[in-house]
Amino acid sequence: MEPVIEVQGLTHVYIDAENTKVTALDNIDLQIMPGEFVAVIGANGSGKSTLARHLNALLLPSEGHVKIKGMDTMEEDNLWDIRQTVGMVFQNPDNQIVAAIVEEDVAFGPENIGVLPEEIRTRVDDALKAVDMTAYRTHAPHLLSGGQKQRIAIAGTLALGSECIVLDEPTAMLDPKGRKEILSTMLRLNKEKKITVVYITHFMVEAMLADRVVVMSEGKIRFQGTPREVFSRVEELERLGLEAPLAAKVAFELRKSGMKLPKEIITNEELAAAFG
């Protein structure tokens, strides 16, 4: 099967305000297969947002290649196909809603690519239904909660026909309820509509539900694997400025003090079960 996203030797260098060269991404290799739910974690400044912006050609590589379904982001002719294939959801829920009515905002993407009006109508209705926001069709966005606004943003990418959605810390500005809404919406879309998800977050609990976790630091991918593999490496995570889930940490400390516990404990339930 062909990967949806293929990153080969991606390096991103930029000149900052003090005129020094900064390497935000350093020789990244990453493959994401159709239908995968990949979480990317990393401390602030680890380059995860920069990586996200490369995935739909908002940024272009200084070196290396990013291919979306085989289309290279460096080729300008591919630009609009790439942006239709990979949808983006950003951190600030307010700053990505364009129109003053919910359904008009969801229609913004398809309108841009010249879809026929009747077709836009069906796409918008379907997208709003998929994120469970049909009831708010004609509302004004500023009256919605953060979680609802982010769901509108997700609907916006669905209406564009995205097969893959990249979410750049979508829950960073939300309350716990909103966080839950977004995560469960994405898990459902991944399962039911086979949408490929790249979920960038600094909440470890959210990453635990992914198929694969990619750990980034200083512009490099440090290690990756299933949540179980990644989160049981408590010491390494801490060295990178990340906190492993509480259960994994407790198990790790207990093991260190001589207790015999299985190495792959990462959830509270597993920890409790280990004590019988």
Binding site: R53, L58, A99, A100, P110, I113, G114, P117, R121
Partner: protein
């Protein structure tokens, strides 16, 4: 502060509310022309009846429409006074030193202020019965043919849409900044005008910085959603003329015809 309504849209589902926004904008312009053509008492009378008729059709409370005259009340009264006191004419009703009230002056004053009142009422019926969002669609559609001579129709409409979207958000933000600065001991209510204007600075600076940041974020988000200007863009909501729109146009042209007849036609009355 959260509960702000933009513009003065008065929701409803009347015949006037349901008209196509293009019809309403064009008909408003036509009726304004009709107001300028009127120059007889009969003409003004007919226009008043017409405005009352439209208000009745729109289901708006009469007082609401009348209130739209308020912001210009001072100018209307001034117009009336100046024409009355300084008007020229042969039929002097009253004279005191250089002030001379003439019949012609009074007539002129009444006409001029009637004209202002009618203009205000007609144009506010447009904004009362059309939501700003629909109005934006109408303006975009009407300006589209002028793109060939360089009128940025799509860009203007986009700007209006984004403004409508972000004004409430920025109002919320202003509210928050005012509270934050008050908590830090800022004083917005004492001192003379200059001092007070100066005190607004701690509100304006953070507000501007945040607005620019938002603009930057929004631009990236729009680009990510395939925005590339008005070229090749479609709209989900298509404007469509109906029978009612034809009737509205016939009515507006009839009013112009009537006013032109009263002005230049044979003096039948």
């Amino acid at each position: 502060m959260l509960d702000i309504t933009l513009g003065q849209y008065y929701p409803g589902n009347s015949f006037i509310h349901r008209l196509d926004p293009r019809t309403k904008i064009l008909a408003t312009l036509l009726l304004i022309v009709a107001v300028f053509l009127a120059n007889t008492a009969v003409g003004y009378g007919a226009l008043c009846v017409m405005v009352l008729f439209i208000i009745a059709l729109s289901g708006l409370p009469f007082m609401l429409v009348l209130k739209s005259v308020k912001p210009l009340l001072f100018i209307i009264v001034l117009t009336l006074l100046l024409h009355t006191l300084l008007g020229q004419g042969e039929h002097v009703l009253y004279q005191w030193k250089f002030l001379k009230v003439t019949e012609e002056g009074v007539q002129m004053g009444v006409k001029m202020s009637m004209r202002l009142i009618l203009l205000l009422m007609i144009s506010s019926i447009l904004t009362f019965t059309t939501s700003p969002i629909v109005l934006t669609d109408g303006i975009e559609a009407l300006l589209r043919p002028f793109r060939v001579i360089g009128v940025p129709a799509h860009e203007l409409a986009m700007m209006m849409t984004i403004a409508l979207r972000f004004i409430p958000t920025l109002m919320e933000e202003t509210d928050r900044i005012i509270k934050a600065q008050t908590a830090r001991g800022a004083d917005f209510s004492s001192g003379n005008l200059l001092a007070r204007a100066k005190n607004m600075l701690p509100i304006l600076v953070p507000l501007f910085i945040s607005a620019f940041r938002r603009a930057d974020d929004l631009a990236v988000a729009m680009e990510a959603r395939c925005y590339r200007g008005g070229e090749g863009r479609t709209r989900m909501h298509q404007l469509a003329y109906h029978a009612g729109d034809a009737a509205a146009f016939v009515f507006a042209f009839a009013m112009i015809g009537l006013m032109a007849f009263l002005r230049w036609g044979p003096n039948v009355l």
